[in-house]
Amino acid sequence: MSLGALELDLDVFSGPFDLLLTLVLREEVDLLELQLAEVVLAYLDHLEQRGELDLETATEFIVLIAALLELKSRLMLSSEEEELLDIEPEQAAEELLARMLDARRYRAAATHLGELLAGEHGVRFRSAPAPAHLRRAIVHAADGSQDPEVLGEAMGRLLLMPPAINVRHISALRVTVGERLTHLRRLLARGAFSFDEAVRGADRMTVAVTLFALLELYKRGEAEWDQQESFGEIAIHARARETGASPVALGAAAGGGVSG
């Protein structure tokens, strides 16, 4: 069973789930009008009818619905919420107010344009190629006026693969302790390193999982670490197996060396 088999009959949309996603991404269905709870209920009904749970499909569904939820919450809040958190409430309010007024103005203007367009309903224009004998004159005047490079460029644009939709922060759930263990072992093999280095550029979930992996390494006696102060840098190094010395003592010694 795939998610494509999930048929929806909602207030604002009826059809397959796949299509709904496409329409949402193309902004042809307004996410704000979409009751995501209805989608979830439809999915549960669907599962019940099927009488079986395909884990892979279920995972896919959860990831997608989570993405939709997040998208929707961003729409409902504001896209630059984080920035706003750093400024004074009055400032934030002014900024928000300005934006809301702008949004309101252009939404009203959009309605006006919609009315103009509706007012032109039934007005059609003639669209026919110029008669051949006149066209001949046109062609002659325009011969060689276009640059073929334009066509090559257009093809280059079309060949470009679009960046994948970024759901890294959602699929982070897929980061496993096992993967992070492998990652840490690889770093250990090269020598000492800091925790920051191990998680550079990673999202919060990955950082958390990496920490678990580090604990696991410690438990297995493969690595140990040292932190000089709380929130300070964590220096990690391989445990010297032969000596069997106290991890703390060794850690302190190695930590000094790494902290540069």
Partner: protein
């Protein structure tokens, strides 16, 4: 052709009585001295609008279907229009061609038309048009659905404009019945190309040249990724 037209008008005169009110009204108006203020029957106006909009000749049958009027009434309407557009009365003529009727500009305006069309225009292609034209040029013959798949967005208005400007034309149908497009000789002239072989090598703009797949396949893949 003129004879045919006259015949048609003749038959309309005969058809008119069946037409009842509009025909009679029209004739009554015809007698009225003032040129201004005369009202043409609705059917005449509708037929005029349809002829205006269509780039191909329309048969009385087609006009009757579209207006949901009888063919006799349509012929009567065409007769009225024939008078309205009698040579010399307007800049547009009503002509009968291959069993259909069409509006065409009066040949008397040809010199002005030539000047109008040969004026230097801002002829640059929009990105959508350039993309659509490039797809047709490199992959011809190609169907509109396929162009849409490659672009990831509809190419309807762009291809309509290109057809309109005579840069692409229809080239039969695909096995699935979709209209196929190819470029025209006019396209080659406009771009200063002697043949399609002179189209620029895409390698220069190719973002992933190491990939070996066919151009068409790769375009489709990228297009689908864009659309999803």
């Amino acid at each position: 052709m003129i004879d045919e037209q006259e015949t048609a008008i003749g038959s309309v005169e005969e058809a008119a009585p069946h037409d009842g009110a509009p025909g009679a009204a029209e004739r009554a108006q015809g007698a009225a001295p003032a040129a201004t203020g005369e009202e043409l029957p609705t059917l005449v106006l509708t037929v005029e609008a349809l002829l205006f909009l269509s780039s191909d000749p329309l048969s009385p049958g087609e006009l009757a279907d579209a207006t949901q009027a009888g063919e006799g009434a349509v012929l009567a309407a065409l007769a009225v229009l024939g008078e309205e557009y009698a040579p010399g009365r307007r800049g547009i003529r009503l002509r009968e061609l291959g069993g259909g009727w069409t509006l065409a500009s009066d040949p008397a305006s040809e010199d002005s038309a030539r000047r109008l069309f040969s004026r230097p225009r801002a002829a640059t292609l929009s990105p959508a048009q350039a993309e659509t034209l490039a797809i047709v040029a490199y992959l011809q013959p190609i169907s509109r659905p396929e162009i849409t798949r490659i672009r990831g967005v509809s190419a309807d208005s762009a291809s309509a404009t290109l057809l309109d400007r005579g840069l692409i034309e229809e080239a039969g149908h695909s096995q699935f019945g979709a209209v196929l497009y190819r470029t025209t000789p006019q396209f080659l002239k406009l771009f200063g190309l002697r043949s399609l072989d002179e189209l620029p090598d895409i390698a220069r703009w190719d973002p992933t040249p190491e990939e070996q797949a066919e151009l068409r396949e790769r375009l489709l893949r990228a297009g689908e990724a864009r659309a999803s």
